[in-house]
């Protein structure tokens, strides 16, 4: 007991002695003055302060500049203490002290003043950090900063880069540094440097060569022009490849959206206007999954593939049992009834969940792009969706061709009466087929959640396109859907740059109308007696 009391007293004394010391330390810390120079309204003064911090020998400089870049460097309104905010969501933010990096507890956002930056400062900070990072351990970091410095090299930097090139062990970093230096030299009128830029597709290189080609020095202008022509030639090829990629990726979205419909509409002949809403359900399943598994968006996304399929398939069964089965053979009524179902589903989501769009997080491994060269990079999320579309297509193909269900489906659609007399339970097949088509719509929804808004209107924007693809490809033919989707995507993306998005869409529609006039059964008409009926 006595010992405890003694200890408490001792600790209090220690604490009391330490407090003013800590305050003193804060005042004496040269960092405080450095940070204070950042706390000014004028962006010019801030820019100067950033240079001072970068030039200071303080080892905390890099972290300060980084947090400043992230907007996390803030100042307490009352105490004037600088803190680094760890998490700025909600109303109270956890923070650490900016000088000591010790925990500073939670602070109300009302009490904090952000050290604001704008895009110009952001650029400056990135360049400053890039210069610091040139000396980093990791080759990747050095490469990123070398890329960053393309077109940003100035006189003072040129000398040190020259030295760095000598010492650089990594070939790729060396190449970038050489380019960065060459751009600086070309801009200063050195003709020999043009050679080092040959073959590079980086926009900064092109800009530098373009400026050089317009210069007064005829020799420089000529060699720059030659280099430029070379680059333009190369760029054209890349641009064509890019358009093709855009077209295929748009096409694969169309295929995904339409392929479920190719089964319900194409194979079963049911005009399901609620198909888009089944996709919406799939997308909302992804959102719900991510809510259930916070912090693991990737895992949630993978789990939503089966979950989205199931949810949409069950909804499909419900629609089939409650509406469609009573309207067999009456396409107009089916159309109207399912349109009603689609409106009901939309409004249901609006009232139950929210009329607002939901945030679906894109997992790390799906964001960004796959860089092939400086002029051509493929966006990862679309690359994944393309792969997914292909897998779904192959899967469906296998089910239709290789499984008993597929056989029964084909039998029932070709001759219902005959199939029934052979012992196939046609009603069950109807349910299964509709569930399959709906489930695939759910899969499309899961994929779309990575590309577009997850909201009550998601389905509406795809329903017309889906019908278009199925009709164009030939009703009842999965191959037709694949070819039609991909080719419509490519046609659209080829037209878009010179016709504009609105006109391109109209032109595609007109094209399809004309095509259907010529070939009413689409690209790949179904053959045989069943198709005649």
């Amino acid at each position: 007991m006595r010992i405890t009391r003694f200890l408490t007293a001792w600790l209090t004394v220690l604490l009391l002695a330490w407090l003013p010391l800590a305050a003193l330390a804060q005042q004496d810390d040269p960092g405080q003055a450095l940070l204070e120079s950042l706390d000014t309204r004028a962006y010019d003064d801030k820019a100067a302060a950033i240079q001072t911090i970068a030039a200071s020998e303080d080892e905390r400089a890099r972290r300060w500049l980084e947090t400043l870049l992230d907007g996390k460097l803030q100042r307490h309104k009352d105490t004037g203490r600088f803190v680094i905010v760890i998490d700025n969501s909600g109303r109270n933010w956890p923070a650490i002290d900016a000088l000591t990096f010790e925990d500073a507890g939670e602070i109300s956002r009302r009490d904090l003043d952000r050290i604001g930056i704008n895009n110009a400062l952001r650029n400056q900070l990135r360049s400053v950090l890039a210069v610091i990072d040139l000396y980093a351990e990791s080759a990747d970091v050095r490469l990123a900063s070398a890329m960053r410095l393309l077109g940003e090299v100035d006189e003072t930097l040129a000398g040190s880069i020259d030295d760095l090139i000598e010492e650089e062990p990594d070939a790729e970093v060396r190449r970038r540094l050489t380019q960065a230096l060459a751009i600086y030299r070309v801009e200063n009128g050195e003709t020999e440097a043009v050679e080092a830029l040959a073959g590079s597709l980086h926009p900064r290189v092109r800009v530098a060569l373009g400026r050089a080609a317009a210069s007064d020095d005829p020799i420089l202008a000529q060699s720059a022009q030659a280099g430029l022509d070379d680059i333009e030639q190369n760029l054209r090829i890349n641009r064509a490849a890019e358009t093709l990629y855009f077209g295929l990726s748009m096409g694969s979205v169309l295929v995904l959206a339409a392929i479920g419909l190719a089964i319900t509409f194409g194979v079963m002949g049911v005009i399901n206007m609620a198909h888009g809403e089944l996709m919406m359900l799939g997308a909302y399943t992804t959102w719900a999954m991510q809510q259930l598994l916070p912090g693991q968006p990737g895992l949630a996304l993978i789990l939503s593939i089966p979950a989205g399929f199931l949810v949409a398939a069950l909804a499909g069964v419900a629609i089939e049992r409650s509406v469609i089965q009573f309207l067999k053979g009456r396409p107009l009524e089916t159309l109207l009834a399912t349109f009603g179902v689609s409106l009901i589903l939309q409004q249901l989501v609006r009232t139950v969940i929210s009329p607002l769009n939901r945030t679906v997080i894109t997992p790390e491994w799906m964001s960004g792009s796959l860089v092939l060269n400086d002029a051509l990079s493929l966006t990862l999320n679309r690359l994944y969706v393309m792969g997914f579309a292909l897998v779904v297509f192959v899967g469906l193909m296998l089910i239709m061709r290789r499984t008993r269900l597929g056989l029964e489906v084909r039998a029932v659609t070709q001759n219902r009466a005959m199939a029934r007399s052979m012992g196939i339970r046609a009603t069950r097949v109807d349910i299964m087929t509709f569930a399959l088509g709906s489930g695939v719509a759910g899969l499309a929804g899961v994929a779309l959640s990575q590309l577009t808004n997850v909201g009550p209107n998601l389905g509406q924007s795809y329903i017309i396109d889906s019908f278009m693809v199925v009709v164009f490809g030939g009703v009842g033919n999965l191959w037709g859907t694949l070819v039609a989707g991909l080719s419509l995507g490519v046609i659209n993306q080829v037209l878009e740059p010179w016709a504009g998005a609105v006109l391109a869409k109209i032109m595609v529609l007109v094209f399809i109308i004309l095509f259907i006039q010529k070939r009413p059964r689409g690209l790949f008409p179904q053959k045989g007696r069943a198709a005649e009926g």
């Binding site: 952000r114 926009p203 748009m250 792009s369 590309l451 577009t452």
Partner: protein, 452 residues
Amino acid sequence: MRTMQTRKENRVKNSTLSPRWLAVALASLGMAAPALAQEDPIKVGILHSLSGTMAISESTLKDTVEMLIEQQNEQGGLLGRQLEAVVVDPASNWPLFAERARELLEQKEVDVIFGNWTSVSRKAVLPVVEELNGLLFYPVQYEGEESSQNVFYTGAAPNQQAIPAVNYLHDQVGVERWVLAGTDYVYPRTTNRILEAYLKEEYGVADEDIMVNYTPFGHSDWQNIVSEINRFGSEGKKTAVVSTINGDANVPFYRELSNQGIDAADIPVVAFSVGEQELSGIDTGPLVGHLAAWNYFMSVDNDDNYDFIDAWIEHTGDEESVTNDPMEAHYIGFNMWAEAVRKAGTTEVDAVKDAIIGVTVPNLTGGYAAMMPNHHITKPVLIGEIQDNGQFDVVWQTPSTVAGDAWSDYLPGSRDLIADWRKPMACGNFNVAEGTCGGSTAAEEAEAALAE
């Protein structure tokens, strides 16, 4: 003037001829008796879509007005009477807006309407509120080129949003090439026409340095356009995108921007239709630094604003709910109307219309908003940069408030027009050059817009 008189005559003729109107008039006569007792609540109509595509934006505005009414009632109401919200749902259907407005004014007999989001819905409602002499407070930024004696525009006119934003980009950021990207409908087309004229006239921007691009509503495949913007922006001159892309299409647009690695520091996008609420549907990490021009941001450091946010969070019961610019516009509009009613001592439309001009109320950014004679208000213009928490950080603002200009000075057709609803001028499109009042053509324009 003449046209207005003719319309008045028409109205009288209509009213005597239509049995339906007679019935309504009789019914309202019957209702008028208890109203004299001053115990009836003041009815506030709310005309915002609660279903359909626009529900995403408009449903929060309905909640905002309801919250403001609640707050007013807690303070004892207005003129000793309680306020009552009358909510109708025009379901994002433009002609239905006109019907619902008529219902509010004729059957529900509201004293004022807060409503509309899209320009086309406002154009649909306009002839109705003019015919039935109602009051409409319209809270959204719009393309201008309009001033009706029955409408109060509490959102920004182009000179309160687009033009200052372009000034900022040119003067502070040093932008020389411009991409004007918009959704294909009346607001972006008019705004971009004004901006194009302004850029050429004021800054001498060449034709090849302006790229104009329109996309359909809800456009979701931005690959080509974004890569085109990227090419346009890597020609060596500083480039910015001025975006009037509307609503849902923004999410895939920003997603594509970040996936193609276009950084705000290289090609900033300044948006006029992206606010806190739109951002709450996106992961904003990759968007940090892109800009938006508004007259209010949720992040504005001001006690009135913090109180408003706290009240809003309490009203919605959702810790995550955000406030945005049109909500502030309703806040200002509601307080202006309440002040005008107090000043006039009645909710009678003509008296309120006269009383409200010159009324000044605090806004949420620490300043004041005044109702101008052209039925637009004074607003500060703020430029904000997107942060990783879905909020904006104000990087620039106009030194003082800017008065809304109903008729743009940069379009040949409207250069000489002004609006002034004070007597004796009382004209929405007075031609200064000719010295005549053109007569309000808003109703005809609305018909033309609807016919499209």
